[in-house]
């Protein structure tokens, strides 16, 4: 029994203007990983390597027990992949695409597809060129979801969707959580979606993995404090990611939050006025700023 949905070990690839550096990334089976990063951070490259579409210069990649890119044919029968730069054939209908996919994957569930069609508010007989961006994204997802892949890899599935369409997509992804055999990797720069659904957070920036952690402890380890600094000190406190000062008020951000971090701050001359948790988005920004 393999216990990982996928595993990337020491994966590197070098391009003229971009380098993916010694990436180690793995996802336990039955779990959801959110891949976060700014545009150009290497999310798509990572995902393409995982799908066997790009061969890394070095390192090992396994998905569902298959070696990639060598066994990509067998792997792709069980992996579902959709990306925001993926388009369907404009001159054909969604029904044509569903028939095409069904002729390839025996597991394609026609009843589930019909159900998704209704929930995504799509028409099977409509030609792809008449669809809006959101409808096209949903059509792509329908084709992938209806075959119930063991591993779902989604590159920016919610980018450019209106709030209603996004909610429809997220709610279908949430249904996958019911099955403890199915795993999901999805990238997004919408941290909100990732914050809700993922069990693990992977942070990429400039081709480097900044963080790979379970979401709950990750969110918990960050905190923001509004403090009053009485003395004119440029005091520092251990574990601070950033300290911004204006007059007597200072904002301290830490990634090593514990019950008594506030006490530590007091001891270092920061009088804590308020403390807050941080959203993934705020952490994202602070983390990227720190690493650069």
């Amino acid at each position: 029994m393999q216990q990982f949905a996928f595993e990337m070990q020491d994966v590197s690839i070098r391009y003229p203007h971009f380098t993916l550096d010694n990436l180690n990334l793995s996802l336990p089976k039955g779990q959801v990983m959110g891949l976060v990063g700014v545009n150009g951070a290497g999310k798509s490259t990572t995902i393409r390597i995982l799908m066997g579409l790009i061969k890394p210069d070095s390192g090992q990649v396994k998905a569902l027990g298959y070696d990639l890119p060598k066994q990509q044919v067998a792997a792709k029968y069980e992996i579902g992949f959709a990306s925001d730069d993926m388009r369907l054939y404009k001159t054909q209908t969604l029904q044509w695409h569903m028939d095409f996919i069904r002729s390839i994957y025996p597991a394609f569930d026609t009843a589930y597809a019909a159900d998704l069609l209704k929930r995504f508010d799509l028409l099977a007989e409509q030609k792809i060129k008449g669809l809006s961006h959101g409808q096209r994204v949903k059509a792509c997802l329908l084709l992938v979801l209806a075959r119930r892949p063991k591993l779902l890899v989604l590159d920016e599935p919610t980018t450019g969707l209106d709030p209603v369409a996004r909610e429809e997509v997220i709610s279908e992804l949430a249904d996958i959580l019911l099955d403890d055999e199915r795993s999901v990797l999805f990238s997004s720069h919408n941290t909100h979606d990732i914050e809700k659904l993922s069990d693990h957070i992977a942070f990429l920036d400039r081709g480097k993995l900044l963080t790979l952690q379970d979401k709950e402890s990750y969110l918990e380890s960050w905190g923001r404090f509004r403090c009053q600094v009485t003395m004119d000190n440029s005091a520092h406190v251990a574990g601070a990611v950033s300290i911004k000062r204006k007059g007597q008020i200072a904002e301290v951000i830490t990634d090593q939050w514990t019950q008594d971090y506030a006490t530590q701050l007091q001891a270092a001359g920061f009088h804590v006025l308020e403390q807050h948790r941080m959203s993934l988005e705020e952490i994202f920004v602070a983390n990227v700023k720190r690493s650069r």
Partner: protein
């Protein structure tokens, strides 16, 4: 199927805490009676559209607080402890006091001053 939890992402409280509080209040008001089986972690995760790890964490907290009991292989149930109601109300009181203490800190009251405020209110 819906379990009637209403989670908000703009709430300052973490997601798992919202689940803990809402399940606790369902138990407190008796909507979820003693021995009632809880939805499985994955069911609740799919229903509320939050990650499995978050629900798992909430269930652990609920177990620690004695609101639910988990039996290996059978799932989780609402605790049948006779004094559960009492206990939960006590916990809620403690939480309210914590909020008051937080406010006092923001007002930069010393602990003695805070106790004085409480004593005044008690009279």
């Amino acid at each position: 199927m819906s379990y009637g939890l209403f989670l908000s992402t703009v709430d300052k409280k973490p997601m798992y805490l919202q689940i803990v509080e809402q399940i606790t209040s369902k138990v407190l008001i008796g909507d979820w009676p003693a021995d009632m089986p809880l939805p499985s972690i994955r069911e609740l995760a799919a229903d509320t559209q939050v990650s499995v790890i978050t629900v798992k964490r909430a269930y652990l907290e609920l177990e620690r607080a004695g609101v639910i009991v988990t039996q290996q292989g059978k799932g989780s149930f609402v605790s049948a402890r006779a004094d559960l109601n009492q206990e939960l109300k006590k916990q809620e009181l403690e939480q309210q006091v914590d909020v008051a203490i937080e406010l006092a800190r923001q007002l930069q009251l010393s602990d003695d001053e805070f106790v004085q405020v409480v004593q005044q209110r008690l009279r």
